[in-house]
């Protein structure tokens, strides 16, 4: 009964946002993840585009990923932090061949830390590993930086379909962990009350069931 309830329970909703300089491959990562396609000639993303994907979590729960793919150009962020406001996770994407795009990731980290504190799960993504020979930022440097800011670090190639699914899986996992962490944090003040009520309701339910089997139809409330 409990297992059925958890499966049929409300699907979790996660909002994830892709941020990063223009042309680092944000849209390509999304396209690869969503449709397993790569289009070298897709359009520049204007403002933002929005896609959703339903995933099944390891614990068999269903979750919906709402992915915001944003425009790389700075001025679109002047529209207000509407994309990362309320988001549970962020992919900060840069181009491993482009030092500037890595600097942009750093400024995004600063902004997100300032605006969202620790409420948001961060993954820094070095994209375009297919251009290894043109690499400008070392793997270790990026990983260490990510560590200092409390972010995960992954590398991927949307073009070659390397490590793309892993990014979104890790992000989902992080967001899930953060969610349960939040629930745990929210609990302590209510812990006693919740436990008490739970215990009461459970025992009532059991008693009620017992009564039901014994006397037929009698509501738990009647006891």
């Amino acid at each position: 009964m409990s297992s059925r309830r958890s499966r049929s329970g409300p699907t979790l909703n996660f909002k994830a946002v892709l941020l990063g300089e223009g042309c680092v491959g944000k849209t390509s990562l999304v396209l690869r993840y969503m449709e397993d396609k790569f289009n070298p000639q897709h359009l520049s993303t204007l403002q933002a585009s929005f896609v959703t994907k339903k995933v099944t979590l390891p614990d068999e729960r269903r979750a919906q990923l709402n992915i915001w793919d944003t425009a790389g150009q700075e001025r679109f962020h002047a529209l207000g932090p509407i994309y990362y406001r309320g988001s549970d996770g962020a992919l900060l994407v840069y181009d491993i061949t482009d030092q500037d795009s890595f600097q942009k990731v750093k400024s995004w980290v600063r902004e997100l830390k300032q605006m969202r504190g620790t409420e948001i799960s961060l993954i820094i993504v070095g994209n375009k590993t297919d251009l290894e020979e043109q690499r400008a930022i070392g793997y270790e440097d990026a990983r260490q930086y990510a560590q200092t800011v409390g972010a995960q670090y992954l590398e991927a190639s949307a073009k070659e379909n390397e490590g793309v699914a892993e990014i979104f899986e890790l992000l989902t996992q992080l967001m899930l962990e953060r969610l349960s962490q939040r629930e745990r944090d929210a609990e302590p003040p209510n812990l006693l009350r919740l436990d008490a009520s739970d215990a009461v309701s459970v025992s009532e339910g059991e008693e009620g069931n017992g009564e039901d089997t014994g006397t037929g139809q009698r509501s738990c409330c009647g006891i």
Binding site: G22, C23, Q41, T45, L46, R75
Partner: protein, 733 residues
Amino acid sequence: MRKPAKRGKRDAAELRELWRTAIRQTIMLNRMETENAMLQLRQNENELKRIKLDYEEIVPCDKQLIERWEQIIERNSTQIGNKKDPKVLGHAIRTGVPRSKRGDVWTFLAEQHSMNTAPVDTKRFPNFNTPYHTLLKHLTEHQHAIFIDLGRTFPNHQFYKDPLGLGQLSLFNLLKAYSILDPELGYCQGLGFICGVLLLHCDEANAFQLLKHLMFRRNMRTKYLPDMKKFQLQLYQLSRLVKDHLPDLYVWLDQNDVSPTLYAAPWILTVFSSQFPLGFVARVFDLIFLESSDVIFKFSIALLSVHKQQLLAKDNFEEIMDYLKTVVPKIEPNCMEKIMKLVFSMDIGKQLAEYNVEYNVLQEEITTTNHHLEMLNREKTQNQHLEQQLQFAQSSIAQLETTRSSQQSQITSLQSQVQSLELTIQTLGRYVGQLVEHNPDLELPNEVRRMLQQLDDLERQRRRPVFADRKIGKSISVNSHLGFPLKVLEELTERDEHGSPQKQKKEKTPFFEQLRQQQQHRMNGQSSNVPANEPVVSAVAPTPPSRPNRLLDNASARTVIQTKLDELKLPEHVDKFVANIKSPLEVDSGVGTPLSPPSTASNSSGGSIFSRMGYKTTPPALSPLATRQTYGSSAVAITTAPAPGPMEQVPPVVTIAAMPQEEEQAMHPLSMVGGDVNVRFKGTTQLKSIRPVHHMRAIPLGGVQHQSSTESSVGVAPVPVELAPPAATTGRS
């Protein structure tokens, strides 16, 4: 070219002729090559134009329209300053513009529009009139941003397809020149598509003029400015227009969380060119050049209304978004006609102006609301903090309350203990008195004598009229403190007299009986002691000093008592009493609740409980036993007293003492005090009444010292009148 005619020598004329021929032929060849190149160029241009204009006109354009447009353009270009009738132009645009003539038509329409509008402020834009080729010589800081978008602008169009091909280079030049001309805007994503459309219809320089026209004279530049305020306004305006024109669709989209922000950004920023076919986009441009950039709203509304039914049929966010992204941009010919019809019939100027104002008002409200929200949040956190404090305080109050009640119950039990002990003391006292009476030679130990004296004191206290006006009710007065133990004593004596079941009942009863008998005798005026039933009493009776103070003064009696006590094995009990009495008192005084003051009874006017306990020496004249005897059985005192004087003094005392006794019966001391405590506690839950212990000490001290020894007052002193915090009491004890 040379003719190797003969191997022999050629004459000069021949050579000259040969040279001439060669030169002529070279010239001819050059000419042909140039001509070839010219032909090639023309062919390239046509090819380019063909490539550029390689888009389908959704509704095929009538060939005759070319001539017609040529006529319109020609006639007006010859008469500059002559404005063409807008109705004619409108009709002509509505009928359609042939692709090949579009660039010219746009230029013509731009010129027409510029005639009526003020020139651009060159002070704000010093480079406005700088020639295109001069601008291109400068460098732009937006080079990178422009560059990364080149491959992502019309990536599927032949002209722009090749990386760094002619199309992309032209695009780059145009965007670069514009970013230098308008540094405030620089480069914004989406602008590339506008340039792309223009470049498809005319050459770079011309496209640049048209771009300038659109941006400055058609007010398209503001939405690309870095703050994007105009763009946000336009999204809001579109949302409101949808609500006005398609209310049911608006509600439907709203229910599914589909706002114009999600689908209309490319419509507004690229004038549909990033998603829609060029045939459609070109028609939008036609109308922009004819009317204004507001036609983007008209087309948006027209698109939504054409697809309204299908959109209403989609019942979730994903499907609606998918439909808007994939199906809506596919413009069918019949659809196109409907759209054009709608667009030409729509008038939204007034609404746009209205929503502009509305948006600005809303923005202001939002900022103030945000401010209020911030304040509210701050208040909320503060509230939470205070609530926590309150909870903490409440829990500590509850804790204190439980401590208090437990202490109260402890006090009550101690109180009853004290009562029984007092009773014991009294009984023993009387018994000792009796003993002394029987054995005049009995020598009492000092402690016992002191105790008896104190009992005597106490009796005296009880008789004092002061206690008659004890109306302690709400406020705890000094009297009440005193009154309580006394009352207890009174009750006890009462009980004794009525033979209440007590431990020492067996011992007492005969004593009381005897006393009562004595009393009766004396009341009856019998001056001689009538021997009671018990032999002991009769034996004692003749001895003159029945008053303890006299007994105590009598050294022989003391020794007799001592020996008697020894014989009776009483000293153990006496010791126990002393020990027992001590402990409850200490606890009582330590607890410091309203209950404790009575037990300490540190009143100036009378002997405290300590006086009963033998902690001090009272003057013999105030010996408690004497008074007690007079009270309990007035006859005893009268008979035993050597002089008749005391006899006369006693009766009024008795009567006075009787009154408080009655009063006290009506109100049980414990219940009274308990009630008092509760009332007080409820009334002042804030524990305001807690006062420093030292402060309280002064009051009892003075009073006690008056009659009691300093020794006792030190022991009793620090009893707070009002509720004292447990911490204070424990600290003291």
